[in-house]
């Protein structure tokens, strides 16, 4: 049986208040974020506005600011905040024993 969760590596490989990327062959790239409080979140690495690489934005609280045009995206819901409208897919993640686990089905959604 295929595992439900994929282990994508230890939490400590993510800079705090930063992000790293997780390419999915045949699918869309995922951005994994690390907040100041140690929270781990994952979004599709594409701003709903002009597909900016969210992984390269500034992380503050549970928000990332897109590096292209400063849209603020919630790491929790994927929704654009403030006046902007749009939503990025959220990929369920959890941390177990210091390792990041990502929902297999959500990560592979959209893979041809």
């Amino acid at each position: 049986m295929e595992p439900e969760w994929l282990d994508i590596g230890p939490v400590d490989q993510l800079p705090a208040l930063g992000a790293r990327t997780l390419p999915v062959q045949g699918g869309r790239e995922i951005a994994i974020f690390h907040t100041a409080n140690g929270g781990i979140y994952a979004l599709a690495n594409q701003c709903p506005h002009k597909a900016g690489p969210l992984s390269q934005g500034i992380v503050h609280d549970t928000t990332v600011t897109c590096p292209l045009h400063n849209w603020r995206i919630s790491l929790v819901t994927g929704e654009a905040l403030g006046e902007d409208k749009g939503c990025v897919p959220v990929i369920p993640v959890k941390v177990d024993g210091g390792r990041i686990l990502i929902s297999r089905a959500a990560a592979l959604a959209g893979v041809a």
């Binding site: 490989q13 390419p23 699918g27 900016g52 500034i58 928000t63 400063n70």
Partner: protein
């Protein structure tokens, strides 16, 4: 011990003589002392003691007798058979027996597993050396006390609650202690970044060395511990290493017996495992996906377990946890979820003078989390509100001030009510001793903005903690005339201070770190926003050259990556070409890089440099290495910094050229490169008034004339075209360089972050700049000297460091997912 008469009672066997096992037995006895015949097996050769009291024991505040929960008499009085020092090694569920290490076999009717958890040992080389201990039981404390009696250095790995308590105890026992913590702030599970930072500062003041972001590579020593080596190469000598990085549920026995296991032993709401005759309680269990490492949930589980066994079943529905503790006498409290997020509202109060930080998180009018540092008096009240999920809408405005205030009637009243009720001689500003009467008089005398009140009374002009009170007085005194707007914009929505305030206070109060600025200046958000963090990072960098450690995560992506992000997520790279001059070797290197990394375009920029487009993030370090090898360094075309010095060919080639404009441009660029500024900065040097280098739309323009050099400033070819203002004319090239350095430093020290020179010059006026740079010769010299001092730290090629491997992770993917093929990532099935 074993010759107790066999009563016709069902036999309850408890595996684990710790806090959970014994508490469960106590709860059962309290409900029905004659329900079971009870045998307790314990791995330690001791009676039941209070494990959370190990810290005071280590610190010397308590003795073992003080921390015993149940002495031998309790076991005897309750006819409990205690088998201490003989751990259970196997369960036979078919025959309903347990086997101890000694070979002793016991039959059970009900089996209770309370095996607790094991300290986690990081499997680094040397973890098994003599002198490496955990902090979990009496034997560990014994080992630590023996080590401490010899004095010397100790390293505690783990800056969580347990690690800090161990460090505190060892400190009190006279050891020099270094705490190594992998995460950037201490106790990150309980405290948010701000509180964690305050805790670190305070512990350091008390003599502990705290290294955060410290990743242990190995423990070294011949036979016994001699020290720790970090992954970044640092070595910390120590004769004792305490590993306190965490615990994990001890599920071995249960797993071997075939019980359902997740992270802990799976139990239902009555603490029954997948075998109806086997129960489990405490840190070894997983209930609805949760495992607990605190004592309060454990008590709740024990009550539900006893209810389920002997009384009316009363299911366990999980626990909301809180942590209230004193580390080295510092009060800290946290409860619930303080990670914030969608729909959550943070209320933050920072009282810098009393060293207090409070943060409560509200969602849908319910309190969902709280972090308190320095004053935890209201912890229980917040915890209560949180557990009962009470509606806090009516006390929302007063919530952060605590129970006394919120329930004292100040709550639903107008927030300005408290200020209105103050007597005229009541103190508003503690720093400057300003009374309410004085502030009101100033307002009535025409000071109708916060800045005006600050200017004429000094109230709120020092630490700023009374800003809210002053604003309240403005509102009360002026009524509808007070708009609440300040003349100058605040630095961002996280603060009531202007950029100028922040810059001034950073110097006055000697603030040297972003969290420190946020605490001292009463920031209203926990970790700022994408506007203020880069600004604070710049202000600190400018204020404390050579001292402030740049915060990479507070920099915009271009500065983090040392390249320009483009619309498709690739980057462009601009190597420096001094004064716009290049040569075949550099051109060849650029051509090679463009081919090798499949650049999609090479373009001449407006500043006479070559921009190589379409470079992938992963390739950046090798691109830089190749360009470095050809002698080129970063052009900082991505940075809020000096970008280019544009030149014409000047007297060397041009028939009109009056001076060596190319040479001067190169010298200015060599003096100025690497310097961070409030915004991007461009310079041009033209060799004659025909101005081929377009010097009059640059931040600094130099126009060479027969008799010297005309300097002008504040030009901008950007959105709003602006020609420069003439500053002055100087006679020599050295003067031109010195005036440029002084002007740049003035701009660096006084402009708001993201102000280019044009709006800044318009705001402060060309007369002010002339006065500072031209008329005040001594002041100019000081500015020039400060610029050069700062440059002594800044002129390092950031590309070279990255090409050499610094921050390589930033350029790499975390992992890769390849569906339907061998996964690079190790897969793990979680039930």
């Amino acid at each position: 011990m074993t010759d107790k008469p066999h009563l016709p009672l069902p036999h309850l066997v408890v595996v684990g003589n710790g806090m959970a096992g014994c508490r469960a037995v106590e709860e059962i006895l309290a409900r029905d002392p004659a329900k079971f015949r009870i045998t307790i097996f314990g791995a330690e050769p001791r009676v039941n003691y209070n494990r959370i009291m190990l810290s005071p024991l280590l610190a010397g505040d308590k003795s073992f007798e003080d921390i015993v929960i149940n002495d031998h008499a309790w076991y005897t009085d309750n006819a409990i058979d205690l088998v201490a020092g003989d751990p259970i090694v196997a369960i036979d569920r078919a025959r309903r027996t347990v086997t101890a290490r000694s070979g002793r076999v016991e039959t059970y009717d009900k089996l209770l597993l309370a095996t607790g958890s094991d300290p986690f040992i990081i499997p680094v080389p040397g973890h098994d050396l003599h002198g490496v201990v955990t902090f979990r039981d009496m034997d560990d404390v014994g080992a630590m006390l023996r080590a401490a009696s010899a004095g010397g250095d100790a390293v505690v790995i783990g800056g969580g609650l347990l690690g800090l308590e161990a460090a505190h105890g060892l400190c009190l026992r006279g050891m020099r202690v270094t705490v190594l913590h992998l995460m950037p702030t201490l106790m990150e599970r309980q405290l948010d970044e701000a509180a964690g930072w305050l805790l670190k500062e305070e512990l350091e003041r008390r003599g502990q060395a705290i290294l955060t972001g410290a990743d242990t590579a190995e423990i070294y020593g011949q036979g016994r511990v001699e020290g720790v080596r970090l992954k970044d190469g640092r070595e910390i000598p120590a004769s004792l290493i305490v590993m306190a990085v965490g615990i994990r549920p001890n599920v071995k026995l249960a797993r071997d017996a075939g019980l359902a296991i997740g992270r802990g032993i799976h139990v239902d709401d009555h603490l029954v495992t997948s075998d109806a005759d086997i129960l489990a309680v405490g840190e070894c269990v997983e209930h609805q996906g949760q495992v607990y490492g605190l004592v309060a949930p454990l008590w709740e589980m024990c009550r539900s377990l006893a209810d389920g066994l002997v009384a009316i079943p009363n299911g366990y529905s999980g626990s909301v946890t809180s942590t209230k503790l004193k580390v080295s006498g510092i009060d800290v409290f946290s409860a619930g979820d303080f990670s914030g997020g969608e729909g959550c509202e943070d209320i933050v109060m920072r009282d810098a003078s009393r060293g207090i930080y409070k943060r409560v998180v509200v969602k849908d009018d319910r309190l969902i989390g709280a972090v308190l540092y320095g004053d935890t008096q209201d912890g229980n009240w917040y915890f209560d509100l949180l557990r009962k999920q009470e509606d806090v809408a009516s006390i929302r405005d007063a919530l952060i001030f605590g129970q006394a205030f919120a329930s004292g009637g100040g709550a639903s009243a107008n927030p300005n009510g408290a200020v209105a009720a103050m007597a005229d001689d009541g103190e508003i500003c503690g720093c400057n001793g300003i009374s309410k009467g004085k502030v009101v008089a100033a307002i009535q005398g025409g000071a109708c903005t916060l800045d005006a009140v600050r200017a004429c009374t000094k109230a709120s002009a020092s630490c700023g903690s009374c800003t809210g009170l002053v604003e309240g007085l403005l509102a009360i005194t002026m009524g509808e005339d007070y708009t609440g707007e300040r003349a100058a914009p605040t630095a961002c929505k996280c603060t009531s201070f202007t950029h100028e305030d922040v810059r001034r206070l950073i110097i006055e109060k000697s603030l040297k770190a972003i969290p420190q600025v946020m605490q001292e200046l009463h920031w209203t958000t926990p970790d700022g926003c994408a506007s203020c963090r880069p600004a604070l990072n710049y202000y600190l960098l400018c204020a404390w050259p050579g001292e402030f450690v740049d915060d990479n995560q507070s920099r915009f992506v271009n500065e983090r990556m040392h390249a320009n992000i483009q619309k498709d997520g690739t980057y462009s790279v601009v190597p420096r070409m001094w004064g716009g001059v290049t040569n075949p070797k550099e051109l060849r290197a650029i051509a090679d890089v463009a081919e090798k990394y499949q650049a999609r375009m090479v373009k001449v920029t407006g500043g006479q440099r070559l921009d190589i487009f379409g470079i992938k993030k992963e390739d950046l370090p090798s691109v830089w290495a190749d360009l470095n090898a050809a002698g080129m360094v970063s052009g900082h075309a991505y940075a809020k910094a000096l970008r280019t010095v544009k030149t014409c060919v000047g007297s060397e080639w041009c028939r009109f050229g009056t001076q060596d404009s190319t040479g001067l441009g190169i010298r200015i660029e060599q003096m100025t490169w690497g310097s961070f500024m409030p915004h991007k900065f461009k310079i041009a040097v033209s060799g004659c008034p025909r101005n081929c280098a377009e010097a009059t739309i640059k931040d600094i323009g130099v126009i060479c004339v027969d008799s010297g050099y005309e300097l002008s400033i504040g030009g901008n070819g950007g959105i709003k075209l602006r020609g420069t203002d003439f500053l002055c004319k100087v006679a020599t090239e050295q003067d031109a360089l010195d005036y440029c350095a002084a002007f740049i430093q003035l701009y660096r020290e006084e402009a708001r972050y993201l102000d280019r020179t044009a709006p800044w010059v318009e705001r402060v006026g060309i007369d002010y700049i002339r006065q500072r740079i031209v008329e005040d010769a001594a002041g100019r010299e000081l500015l020039r000297a400060r610029f050069h001092y700062s440059q002594s730290f800044m002129q390092n090629d950031p590309w070279a460091k990255r090409a050499a491997g610094e921050d390589w992770k930033l350029h790499q993917h975390l992992a890769e997912i390849r569906p339907a093929a061998a996964l690079i990532a190790r897969t793990l099935e979680v039930a």
